[in-house]
Symmetry: C2
Subunit: 414 residues, 2 copies
């Protein structure tokens, strides 16, 4: 059981993700934060600490130093500390981790995590630089040399056309798993097809259309074996979450719909051996989260995982213990991970369909978890879920993500 | 009295600040962290959470997503969460605030804050963009229009030559204070001359030479009334601090030289009226810090404050209550704030002499406070100090800093 005082989610808010060249980050933040405040019945003056997750605003639009203060202060927040942070694609999960830490420390009864990103820009070189900066800029060749060692044994036909550096990284990860466990391109296409089907039931998604497995396989390749519908797009968007102590919940009168955070863990990785998948950074985070929550993976009802590509979902369904090691693809083909299956994964549509505004993605996952646990997910509602899990990774260090965040959340009253 | 469990500083480390075009951030971080670990008798495996403060690495060298993981993981840190954060020139003070929060939350017994910056670059436009990004990039003209309103009434002769945008901002702040309180250029020159004298006793300073008041006044103007020796230079450097719970101290065997953190407060500002200096963001932070520590300014023995310019020291000596409002300059001229005076300020030499590698500055202040409180400051040692205070500000929102951090620290055994 957890050693910590309970911390609750009192409210969530997010924009529809998409490409909004004419909307500033500030406008997107305003929408997400106002939805979140309304959902929690909170006013800006109630919030005692704010954490702003973002990756590219400095590099794309030149906003350094205080992007969170500049986006949040005009909404009426005064005096409460605002901290800007970045952990790659896990930035807003790290923001949530810090907000929870402030409540656990007794330094706030009510705190807010915010994530935002604007990747639509005419300056494509600047956007590319954000992804190229996601791993060691002093040794880019060395990083890809290590990745090539990690994935050696599976041939990779060269592909042409634009993509982010991370699609090449995901290609290496995928091929290493194909070699070690026999995973296939068809399995990945099944995951992508499933997530795009889920997205047709989620109006907040950037894309809402179905793809058959055959359509996914026939689409433009990005990095073998990944094709366009298996990969998350460039996206803009913002999301926010309010967390509370029990006293904070009482102050807001939000007890009825509060979702308890049973565990929230952030970790870095180890210098693991290439073949030692059991020491993957995300497996370490998941093991710690289960220990903190005092439960095992069999008790989890559904998951939102970091499918920046379909392979991210395949691998992390294994790292979270939701399927046995090496069987992430097989389980997906058996239908276990789709709505109505044994353990639905990414009922939201996931990053592949919902979109991936880097700094907002982690809290978009939390938005879906909370929506499902409250029973408000409409046509994509999972039947009476009690426990949901999130997994979010960011950056690259060595042969895996630089940071991983895993959270376990319980339905109101659970 | 504080409501929080006590948190202690077990070790500090920093590089000499300067311009090191041939040293990477990674190398500077290694030096500061290894010094800090040795000072605390700690190994990397003891550290349960790390916070990496930096401002310009993304914009200057293109390192986004995970700069802290990339700099820190090779030093032997595994699994412990690493969080990258940015709060302008207060970034590493915010890193310390988060490290303390993790200990207070019971989520670590030993945590580390690290700050690093490399501003030496051939690409001057990129460096300039870091400073131009320190306030709202969507309304730069509006920001300077407000600052001009704030400072109206004191003529400002135009000056030529290169400087950062923040020297113009400091010019506006200074002129507003000259108008409201009669502060003078000579007072500012006295502060600069005093800090440069202090620097001759600190081998970690970027500059170690004296300036007479006349020399300071005769130097090249940057923004009226500020001249070059009144302003912090571009700098490279890194600094680190290890904080512990009482249990962490026992584990490290570091009790004898541990400095207690009596208060550490981070705040944002308010939409205060222009003339209402008493609601300055730093005054709010200082008032909260004194309340948290259960003491008043009269009990403070010395201070390290954010003299990005001499005016920063003048104003913040007032905001911290070390001198009466409006008398920061007069007190300096009376010699109250120099070594041997009533309340020495910036015995380290301050940002004006030590240098100002943005993301490292807050922890360099802590380095000086700890060195003095341990009685290890050599020729610049203050006589038996019991309590020291730090003040660090970052970014710009409205007419003042976007964030302010104030800390109060007690000598070993106090």
């Amino acid at each position: 059981m957890s050693n910590f005082e309970p911390v609750y989610i009192a409210g969530v808010g997010m924009t529809k993700f998409g490409l909004y060249p004419d909307r500033s980050i500030k406008k997107m933040v305003r929408e997400a934060v106002e939805l979140c405040l309304a959902d929690a019945s909170a006013r800006p003056g109630d919030v005692e600490g704010l954490y702003f997750g973002n990756v590219g605003q400095g590099m794309i639009e030149g906003q350094s130093a205080a992007p969170g203060q500049i986006a949040l202060r005009p909404l009426g927040f005064e005096q409460a500390p605002i901290t800007n942070l970045e952990n790659g694609c896990a930035s807003s999960s790290s923001a949530l981790w810090l907000a929870v830490m402030q409540v656990r420390a007794g330094m706030a009864d009510i705190a807010m995590a915010v994530g935002a990103e604007k990747l639509s820009t005419d300056d494509v070189a600047r956007r590319d630089s954000v992804f190229l900066g996601g791993f060691d800029v002093h040794d880019r060749e060395g990083v890809f040399r290590e990745l090539a060692r990690y994935s050696e044994g599976i041939e990779s036909p060269p592909v042409e056309g634009s993509r982010s550096a991370f699609m090449d990284i995901y290609g290496h990860w995928t091929r290493a798993h194909m070699r070690d466990f026999g995973s296939t391109q068809e399995q990945l296409a099944t995951i992508a097809s499933k997530n795009h089907w889920h997205s047709t039931m989620n109006p907040l998604c950037q894309f809402q259309r179905t793809f058959t497995v055959e359509e996914v396989l026939a689409a433009r390749p990005l990095a073998y074996p990944l094709t366009v519908p298996m990969c998350s797009p460039y996206s803009d968007g913002a999301a926010a979450t309010i967390v509370c102590s029990r006293r904070g919940l009482e102050k807001l009168g939000a007890k009825g719909s509060a979702v308890a955070i049973r565990a929230l863990v952030q970790v870095s990785g180890t210098d693991r051996d290439y073949r030692d998948w059991e020491r993957h950074i995300t497996k370490i985070a998941a093991d710690q989260a289960y220990e903190e929550a005092g439960i095992g993976p069999a008790e989890i009802d559904f998951a939102e995982v970091h499918d920046a590509t379909a392979f991210g979902e395949l691998l992390n369904s294994e790292n979270l213990g939701l399927v046995p090691r090496g069987e992430g693809g097989v389980a997906a083909v058996r239908g276990e991970t789709k709505l109505g299956g044994r353990i639905p994964i990414n009922p939201s549509g996931g990053l592949e369909s919902r979109g991936h505004p880097l700094g907002a993605t982690g809290l978009a996952q939390v938005h879906e978890i909370v929506t499902q646990l409250r029973g408000r997910a409409g046509p994509r509602q999972i039947e009476a879920p009690k426990l949901g899990i999130t997994e979010n990774g960011g950056g690259l260090y060595g042969i895996e993500e630089a940071t991983a965040v895993v959270g376990i959340f319980a339905a109101p009253g659970e």
